[in-house]
Subunit: 325 residues, 2 copies
């Protein structure tokens, strides 16, 4: 019976579960609503049942599980496996999630921050698989991050490292949900990009996005990129600002840990090469010459599976390194 | 015969040399002009003779040297022990400095970037000795940096990590010597602080620094802090801007590697508590609440010896870890 590694990507809305063989090939996967308001015990029990069903449907046994990895929103005490709190799961306060999952399955379990887990997935099997030093940004509602130095995730002294969305790029700039001003998240997340477009339209900018706002009552990031592709000038300007903001934060992380590759993930990379090219343009324009050529900026390759892949890979890594003994 | 560790702090003007016992207590130290224009061979030979004289004057034998550490300006290939180039030592191009020093003494030698060596000194014996995760800034002509993650210096993929002076805090801002715009170095190094004061005086600002500029033809950072202490309003404004710039870069490194302590060193910390207090003020004002309390901002404690202490400590560390076998 060959060993299985389970990767769990716990989000505020859905929980994704994937089963992997010992080579980290995806065997099967599923998703279920998180329903975090039912409380942590119910959530963990659903994860247990859903995983068992998934395994049974695929002719696998829970006995074969070698280890389980969970990527979850934080802040968390990773060494203790405890979720301190989570804005999207208010019922999760000081929840010993690692122990609960481990007890539910009777299997060794690791807990990691969700963005770090996705970062690790891309590092092991995706856009970063051939480098040792990588920085990862996920561009969604907010901006999450991960930092890998010489093959290890950087956790920081209190497990809050790599909050890269809150690097300040424009002091005294736009308000961020975190309470700071001028964070890159306030400019270049998918939500902030869409919001800046809506603000410009409301302020009277000429744009084909005006009709979108009028008809739907809002503008999404996808709208911005569709109208960019159709040649809208405002969409172009908004994209330029997003790209410049992302280039600035690339320069800043580069001067800190000097990654060989900087990887962007999340819904916004659906915008495609036009966005990547503009990030590279502003990076090249603003960075000093010494570092211009050597650093690579790339888009993630694993899509939505990065979280489950990374969680399973962390579980396998911990087992391989003897962390569970 | 107890073991000696030699720490060498190679600068564009002077080379400092210190001898330490196996507990890293400073036994004796000296300094000599670098005279880099004489070429690397001559520089290394002078380092050799100066060290031998220092040891002899203190009744010690070069035979007792356990290992040698060198902190030198870069960029460098640290694994290979090669200085690629150095703006202040134009004759140093692709110089295998580690091998040259090791051959001169017949002793194992490590090469480190000068700011990293000073960072390591503060980490091991100075302001960071009780933490695992630290970030270090040295405020002098420019701004150098060091990043320590879980007890290890971060080197980056090409040994150019921790160029923290070139983190961009004000996009499209002041020109920096590196070719970028808006680097923290262009605002908050000792030189930039003095330069901003001189520019303000030249632009007509009322200040007691006006006489300094008139009499000496320039304003130094020390002048700014002396006039600050005497109550000059412009000196106060310049100091506020320096403190805000440093607070911003603290926030940005905090969100990247999450150090427990951020340590400032270099000539400018002679300004004392007034500067430290203002950095902490702006940090506290701009950082999100989650991280406000937990991070410590402090001044270095080893003064000018940090470089030789760090270099010697790195030599001992490498020996202890079996790196020379």
């Amino acid at each position: 019976m060959s060993e299985i590694f389970v990767g769990i990507d716990l989000g505020g809305t859905n929980v994704k579960i994937g089963c992997f063989d010992s080579q980290l090939n995806l065997t099967c996967k599923t998703a279920a609503p998180t329903e975090a308001d039912m409380g942590p015990e119910t959530v963990v029990d659903r994860i247990g049942r859903t995983t068992e069903e998934l395994l049974a449907d695929n002719g696998l046994s829970a006995e074969a599980i070698g280890a389980i990895g969970i990527g979850a929103p934080g802040p968390a005490k990773l060494d203790e496996g405890v979720i301190i709190a989570s804005p999207n799961m208010p019922s999760f306060k000081n929840v010993p999630l690692r122990k609960m999952v481990s007890d539910r399955f009777g299997k060794p379990t690791v807990l990691e921050n969700d963005a770090n887990a996705a970062c690790w997935g891309e590092y092991v099997l995706g856009a970063g698989k051939d480098v040792e030093d990588m920085v990862f940004f996920t561009l969604g509602t907010g901006i999450g991050g991960g930092v890998i130095v010489k093959g290890k995730l950087v956790h920081g002294f209190a497990d809050n490292a790599a909050e890269l969305g809150h690097i300040i790029i424009y002091p005294d700039g736009r308000e961020c949900g975190c309470g700071q001003r001028g964070c890159v998240e306030a400019y270049a997340s998918a939500d902030s990009t869409a919001k800046r477009a809506a603000e410009a339209v409301q302020a009277g900018a000429q744009s084909s996005l005006k009709e979108v706002l009028h008809e739907k009552g809002q503008i999404t990031c996808r709208d911005v990129y569709e109208h960019l592709a159709a040649g809208d000038e405002l969409a172009k300007e908004i994209t330029e600002q997003t790209a410049k903001a992302l280039a600035l934060v690339c320069i800043n992380v580069l001067h800190t840990t000097e990654p060989k590759r900087i990887v962007f993930a999340g819904g916004m990379i659906a915008a495609g090469d036009v966005l990547l090219e503009r990030i590279k343009h502003y990076f090249s324009e603003q960075i000093w010459s010494l570092k211009k050529e050597a650093v690579e900026i790339a888009f993630a390759t694993l899509g939505e599976d990065a979280g489950i892949i990374g969680a399973a890979a962390l579980a396998k890594h911990a087992k391989d390194e003897g962390k569970f003994k």
